[in-house]
Every structure is written in C-alpha cells, then in structure tokens.
Amino acid sequence: MEGPAIRIRDLRKAFGPNQVLRGIDLDLPSGAVTVLMGANGAGKSTLVKVLCGVHSADAGTVTLDGRPFAPASPAQALRAGVVTVHQNINDGVVPDLDVASNLLLDQIADGSVGVASGRALRQRARGVAEAVGLRLDLGRPVAGLPLADRQLVAIARAMAHKPRLLILDEPTSSLSAAEADRLFALIDRLRAQGVALLYISHRMSDIRRIADRIVSMRDGVVSGLFEEKPLDTAGAVRAMLGRDLSDAAISIPAAGRVILSMAGIVLRQDALPFDLTACANEVVAITGLVGSGKSALAAALFGQSAPLAGTMTLDGSPYAPASPIEAVARGVFLSPRDRRANALVADFDIARNLSLPFLRRHSWGSFIRWRSEAAMANRMVGEMGVICRSPRDGILTLSGGNQQKVAVGRWMSEASRLLVLDEPFQGVDIQARRDIGAKVRATAKDRATVVLVAELDEAMEIADRILVMAEHSLAGEHRNQNLDLSAVMRQVTEAQQGAAA
C-alpha cells in the first residue's frame, strides 16, 4: 500500500506578528476527497497558498509522493502536478483576454501551447471547455462573463491538467446546482483516477455530497479528523468552531404593513411580468439559479437599471429610483454581491468601509466627525462579530468572511425602509452565517428585508417567506415552515429544463 500522496508536517506560516498556520499536520491520500472545514480566518486559504507556491512556509515539511515539495512559484507547483482553483475567482481569470486564452493560460505560460494560430488555440480550448460542459463563445473576452462562468473557466483550466493534487478553494461559491453537480461528477472521475483532492467549502450540501474524509481546522491547527463512514459532519463543525453550532430555528412573526409592492414588473425582454410585496417585520428570501435574475431584481430596486415595465411603490408612494443615490435617499439599501468588486474599498480601513454610505451622518457640515465615525465602527464591529484587532485595520487584512461582515454591516448601521441583501453569505463560515442571519432577523422589525441567495439552505436559515425565481420572473412562493423541498427544487429547475428542452 502506497503512502498518502501529500504529507504535511508541522507547517507554519506567519504574516508579521500574525501566526496564521501554527503547525499543520495533514495527509492527503490519493483517490480521495479531503474536505477542509474551518471558520473564516482559520488559515485555509493560507495553507492552499503555501501548497501552490504563492507563499513559502516559515517552517515544516511537505512531501509529494515521498519527495520533498517546496514550490518557489506557482509555475513550479503546477509543473509538479499541484493544481489550484483559488477562492478569489478574479485571481483565476484574465478579463481582457478571450475565453480560449484563459482556458489555456497556464499551458501558454509553460510553453506547451502556442498562440500563433487562433484556430488551433480554440480547438484545444474547446476540448478543455467540453470536459466541464462549458458552452461559451471562446472568442469573446472574459470581461463580459458573469461570475459563474468565470469560475467555470478557472475550474476547467485546472481540470485539464491531469493533476496529482487538485485543490479547490470554495469552487461552488457562485455556481448554481446544475453546474455544481457537473463539477461533482468531474471530481468523482478524478477520484477514480487516483488524484488526491483537497476541497474547501462552507456549504454542508457540498460536503455531504463529495467528502471521503473531513479535516477541521481551527486557529491554524488541525482540530479534528473524521474518516469513518458515515461522516460525522456535526462533529466536524464542532471541531472547527470549538463549540456547538447555534440553532437556526425560525419562528415566523406577524408581518407588519406593506412597505414594498411591485406590480407587473418585467426584468428583461420576453420574461413574464410578476408582482411582489414585502412587509415590515418580514424577511423575504428569493432563491433561484445563478442567472435567474435575482441581481437584476436588486438592480431594479436600487435604481441601477429600471425594469422594462411595471410599477413599484414604497410606503404607499410611487417609487422609481433613477440611481442608487435616490434609492438610498428613499431608505432602500442594497448590499451587493461580489464584495471585492462592488462593496469594499481596498485602500480604506474597516471603519471607513463601514461609514462609506452614511458619511453625511458622521459629518458636521462637510467635516467628518471622527468620534462619531469611530463610535459607529466599534458598535458595528461588535454587532456583526467582525474578528479584527481594531476598526482601524486595513480591510484586506481580514479573512473573506469577515470582509463580508463589513460589507453587509455597512448597510445595517442605519435604519432603512427596505434592505436588499444580494448573496450576503458568500464565503462566510457556517457560524458567521447564522450570526449574520440572526442579526438581520433581530433588526427586521421596522423595515422590509429581501435576501437574494442561490442556496436554498441559506434561504431556509433566514427567511419567513421564500420566493423562487426563474427566467427573470417569480415561479413560486412558500412559507418557511414545513417546507416542501421537492416542490421548491422543482420550481427552481423547471424553467431551466424548459429552456434546455
């Protein structure tokens, strides 16, 4: 019997005074999917970056098939067969190049593919794309693609590599169920071929579907290993949190008066018109596949792009915002998806990111009142449970989940009439997700809240009412109590199958 493909012993890594990896011991066997769980900031991505040659370890050893492995650059790791799909999707694609070049980027980099003939390049790229069932115009630039397609491009490229070790850092974070299923089928195939897989995710449904073994990580050390079937996922969560997961049971309160009502809304050409109301003290979740139009709905509510037809009223008076400025003025707040692109100001610290939309509130005339801003920042850091040394830390020093808390918390620092949260849990660990959910529900009394999520699990954790979106229209409505899951799933996918037929 051969040993594990990868053997990690006492791996350590610090950023300045911040000890991130404090002695990781971990084996990754061939032909098995090892799922790595850990709270936000536990050090998962850092471990990945050491393995793929972005960071070098401060101490410890890694062996790959018995030989020492310490890649000095991503190129070396790739050559050794360690292939990575990174958490930050935009680290995976080059927006100005076409899809074909993106699919073959690492082969172009190592010289195994030339680019002189565009046709030959596309031919090869087509093969790579088809392996993951990616159907895209290979000649168009990636810049215009939605996030899901970008992620698939990055995954397809990794899959084409015949890897020894494939690392997937939250690969499904913006995929819908159908695409995720296709990814899982691919993972199954690679597992059968004897590839070692390291899979990082916060989604329990993913984990249940593909895990052969689970490793829990906490504060930079491995805190649990679960290999016996059936896998003890509850134990794994406990090990990663160091305590039990708090409960997410929902008790549905009585809805207040209607705040938002939409009638005859058409979001795009040839979509069916739909109506929607949201009341005070109510949390409405809208779920649906990626690309089903959830963000388009958010865009209409927030004044980014007006719906093609239909009327909206807010608190009984007509509502047709021409810009986010107007929307905010009317008390409609949107926390957008894709925090790096749409929410976070990289040069700003936590406090400044938090105060960005409501600076006027923290100013005297034009002048910023520092004390008021700091007080608000301290309050929100506490309320949202942002893990940081101080609100004056740079935003990029936070782990992904904590960045997300800041991006959402920004819009919770002031009272709103309607709060729209687009994928508020992206990259957030399970406990933090519950915390954010609880916080949203606890403050929902005087406003209407609309949460847009692709994951049904997430909808069920937060909503009073769950609406299903498909084909840029509403396809179903459910009270979040004794939910008929199969009916929801049918509505979610029906439209897509209809379109595919």
């Binding site: 986010p324 957008p336 929410a343 976070l344 100001v345 040069d347 960005l356 002048f367 910023i368």
Partner: protein
C-alpha cells in the same frame, strides 16, 4: 513601531532634513530666512499645480493639461489687461473661469465620453497650446505690441494684478507663498477632513463600490478635474503677475515638475497614495534640492541628474520598505 515602520514613515522627511543640514554646512547663506522664503517662492507655482494634480490622482485620474492651462491663464490674463484693457479683477475672474471650464471639459470627456484620462487631457493639452497662441499669432503680449489691426496695444498690467506676484507681506513674505500655503491647507483639509475628500479617495480606490454606496461618482470626478483646472489657472495668474508679460515660452517645465512633486508625495509619511501634505513636501523637497545645488554652483545638467537620483533613491527606500504594490499612479 519597528525601525522599519519608522523608516517608512519618517525616512523621506529625514532625507530632507539631512539635505538641509548638508546644504547648510556646504553653502553659506543657505540657512537664512531670505533663502527659506526664496525656496518657498520658487516652488509656489509648481506646488499649487501639484496640489491640483493630487486631486485628480485621488479619484484615480491624471491631468496632463495643467501646464497648458497655466500658460493659457498667463496668456489670457495678459490679453485681458493689455489688449482688452480690462481690470485686474476681470483678468483673475476670467482666468479662473477658463480653468474651471477646461476642467469641466476634461471631466466631461472622461466621465461621459469614456475617453481614458491620459488621452483626454493630452488632447486638451495640445488644443490649449494651440489656442493660447492664436489670438496673438504666437507673439508674446506686452504693452505696445502690434495688434493684427495695425494699432498698438495700450493696456497695461494693473499694479493690483502685479502685486499678486510681487507684493511681500511685512516686506518679507511674498503673496505667492501665502497663496501656496493657504491652498495647501485648503486642499489638505478638503481631502482629509471632509466627507467629499473621503468619497474622492473611495472613488479612486473602487469607483464601482463608491457608486453602489450611493456616491455620485461622475460629479466627484468632474469636480476633481475642475479643482485641477482652477488651481492650474491660479498658478498661471501668479506666473503672469510675476512676469508682467504674456510670455509664450514660459511654463515649459510646470507639468513635469508638478507631477514629480505629486508623485514624490506618495513616499511622504509612508502614505503610498496621493495626498496633499506629501505633495507640498514633495514640492518643497525639489525646491530645496535645486536651491542648494544652485548655491553650490552646480551646472544645470547636474541639477537634473541629482534631482533624478535623489528621487529614485528616496523612493526605492520608501517603496521597497513598505513592500507593497500601491495602486497605479
């Protein structure tokens, strides 16, 4: 703070103090009040322009037209007083309006027409270089100059206007230095203390995020170019007041020197981003260097060399130490 942090924060300031100490020892008369005032005065105009550039850098833009705006203001003010025989006030007001208009057009091209900033302001630069010479067919403007209609211009630079460039408060402090200091404090306060400045920094770092936080990104960007245009025209007015003549050849080096000052500002106090205080220090730094070298009788080309070398060394020092890739200037 570690030594390294201290070096990042104060390295540049220390370098500047070292320079002052060196010149103080090497060149008699360097460490005197007149010399200090002289340095300030020599950097007043570039400094004011550099503060304008800083505002455009803050919103992630860049303004190549400032040198041309300054020389246009120089020519315009001379034309208004000498040919149209209008008052100093009219000259100042028209120049400021011209600067604001150029800034608006730059902003319009960049924001509405989506022309990349370098490109839009480069085009504007060429346009202004041409336009400012058309009314006089390329000649300088001075009292008595021949006009195209055959008569001679009889207007004069009014004493009030000349005072802008020449008056010294308490017989010591030139008015242009006062302008520099006041504008520096205003721009600094605007960028650091007001929410408008904060939003401009947000736009420069992530315009999309700023827009989704309810900021009127387009208006702020245009405002930055208007500030830049107005400050450049202030620089041009001061230049005209100092020269007392609409001289077409003046102002050649204004663009490069003020860009240099604004960029050096990145290195001051470890800011790694455009900032008004850094820009002022950057301008001062160049002024000290040139003054010191002049007093040491260094020929003009060694001044370029030393300016470049000290700049590179200082910046390597700062940026290599902070170890971070800053966002593109």
């Amino acid at each position: 703070m570690s030594v390294r942090d201290l070096a990042i924060r104060y390295g540049f300031i220390l370098l500047m103090l070292g320079l002052v100490a060196f010149f103080g020892l090497a060149a008699s008369g360097f460490l005197t009040l007149p010399s200090a005032i002289f340095i300030l005065q020599s950097v007043a105009i570039t400094g004011i322009l550099a503060l304008g550039v800083t505002c455009t850098l803050v919103v992630g833009g860049f303004d190549l037209s400032i040198g041309a705006v300054a020389t246009s203001a120089l020519m315009l003010s001379a034309y208004v007083m000498v040919v149209w025989e209008m008052s100093a006030l009219a000259a100042v007001v028209l120049c400021l309006l011209m600067g604001a208009a150029v800034g608006m057009i730059n902003g319009f091209l960049i924001v509405k027409m989506k022309v990349p900033d370098l490109l839009a302001t480069l085009g504007m630069m060429f346009v202004l270089l041409g336009v400012q010479r058309i009314p006089t067919e390329g000649n300088s403007i001075a009292t008595g100059m021949a006009l195209p209609d055959g008569t001679n211009a009889t207007g004069v630079f009014s004493p009030a206007f000349l005072a802008l460039g020449r008056l010294r408060l308490w017989n010591v402090l030139p008015l242009s230095v006062v302008f520099l200091l006041v504008i520096a404090v205003l721009v600094w306060g605007f960028l650091e203390l007001t929410r408008h400045g904060r939003l401009m920094y947000a736009i420069g770092s992530n315009a999309q995020a700023a827009a989704l936080a309810g900021t009127n990104v387009e208006r702020y960007k245009v405002a930055a170019y208007v500030i830049s245009g107005v400050l450049a025209s202030v620089g041009g007015i001061l230049l005209a007041a100092r020269l007392g003549r609409g001289d077409v050849a003046s102002g050649n080096n204004l663009l490069l020197d003020s860009v240099a000052a604004a960029l050096i500002g990145y290195a001051v106090l470890g800011a790694s981003k455009p900032n008004a205080f850094g820009t002022a220090i950057g301008a001062l730094f160049v002024g000290i260097l040139l003054q010191g070298l002049t007093m040491l009788n260094a020929p003009y080309y060694t001044q370029d060399f030393v300016k470049g070398a000290v700049l590179v060394v200082a910046l390597v020092f700062t940026f290599a130490l902070t170890g971070q890739q800053i966002r593109r200037a």
